[in-house]
Subunit: 154 residues, 2 copies
DNA sequence: TACTGATAGTCAGCATACTGAGCAATATCG
DNA sequence: CGATATTGCTCAGTATGCTGACTATCAGTA
């Protein structure tokens, strides 16, 4: 058996585990109750007002069944509104609320700090290289998960 | 807002998402139904017969509340036995069954292949560097999650 | 236009992961 | 020895994420 430290899958799980913990700690200290997934969704909706759930899922590489619950909770918190699309009656258009915008602005410093903390063991050069290598591996494996990234907003 | 591709937390989630999908696909093709977490637990128990759940959790950096369910399912599948410890009546000693050993042996090629596939976009040098950088970042952040790695078996 | 296939969203079910609480047993220290 | 703290495990509750199935709707085509 290979050592855990030689298994990229194990290292990936561990790094993500720490990343989530750091995110929640920083955001919580700032007085907010928002998960990494909720933050990513909220930020993407602000950048793409009126986006539908399927497109949102593609932009941030979630499964569409996961989006349903995430959007539910953001609506519950009054950070989003979800309304039927007029052009396509299957689709739901998502719009960020004023409270959503305020929350995003207020939370951003904590999110940035979290990104720094999760890389605190690396030099700036190493951090950049780690991100480059993750991006490259992800690009090559994009189609291997059920929720691949889809860059198009159209 | 920073682009997602500049957020180490997002990249970590995405890389892990692909790693899990690849693992499940390879293991499933080989005819087995075992998750990455179940595999890691089974391998660790084989290497440390009679280990208790708390020590196991430390060895592979799970939360102890997660271990309960994982062990439940492995026992259900007849890959493990869980029995009360004689030295400490709070503890549960874990032992791999013969079927567990057979499963581990049979599944290993698929697991190895999965590790290769999730790094297929990288050169061997880049793959080694990605793993080195993840290990370094993880070591620095070990104490930041609720389930830190604990190397001791004692 | 009617049929066929694809798409948007939801749901049920399962498996990680976490928080916080609780119980039983053990360790420690005055 | 006895009070206190700690430890091992479990449970309830919540939030990702997945598979597979289903409904409603839309798009393309015979």
């Amino acid at each position: 058996m290979r050592d855990n430290n030689e298994m990229p899958g194990h290292l990936a799980r561990r790094f993500q585990q720490i990343a989530v913990a750091v995110f929640l700690a920083e955001v919580g200290e700032a007085g907010f109750d928002l998960t990494p997934v909720q933050y990513a969704a909220l930020a993407s909706i602000k950048a793409n007002p009126g986006i539908d759930q399927a497109t949102l899922a593609g932009l941030i590489a979630y499964d569409r069944t996961t989006i349903t619950g995430v959007v539910d909770r953001l609506v519950q918190k009054n950070l989003l509104v979800r309304r039927a699309s007029s052009r396509d009656r299957r689709a739901r258009e998502l719009e960020i609320t004023d409270e959503g915008k305020r929350t995003l602005r207020a939370i951003t410093p904590a999110v940035e700090e979290a990104q720094r903390i999760m890389l605190r063991g690396l030099t700036p050069k190493e951090a950049a290289e780690l991100m480059r290598l993750m991006r490259k591996a992800i690009a090559a494996g994009n189609e291997l998960s059920r929720a691949p990234l889809r860059e198009t907003t159209s």
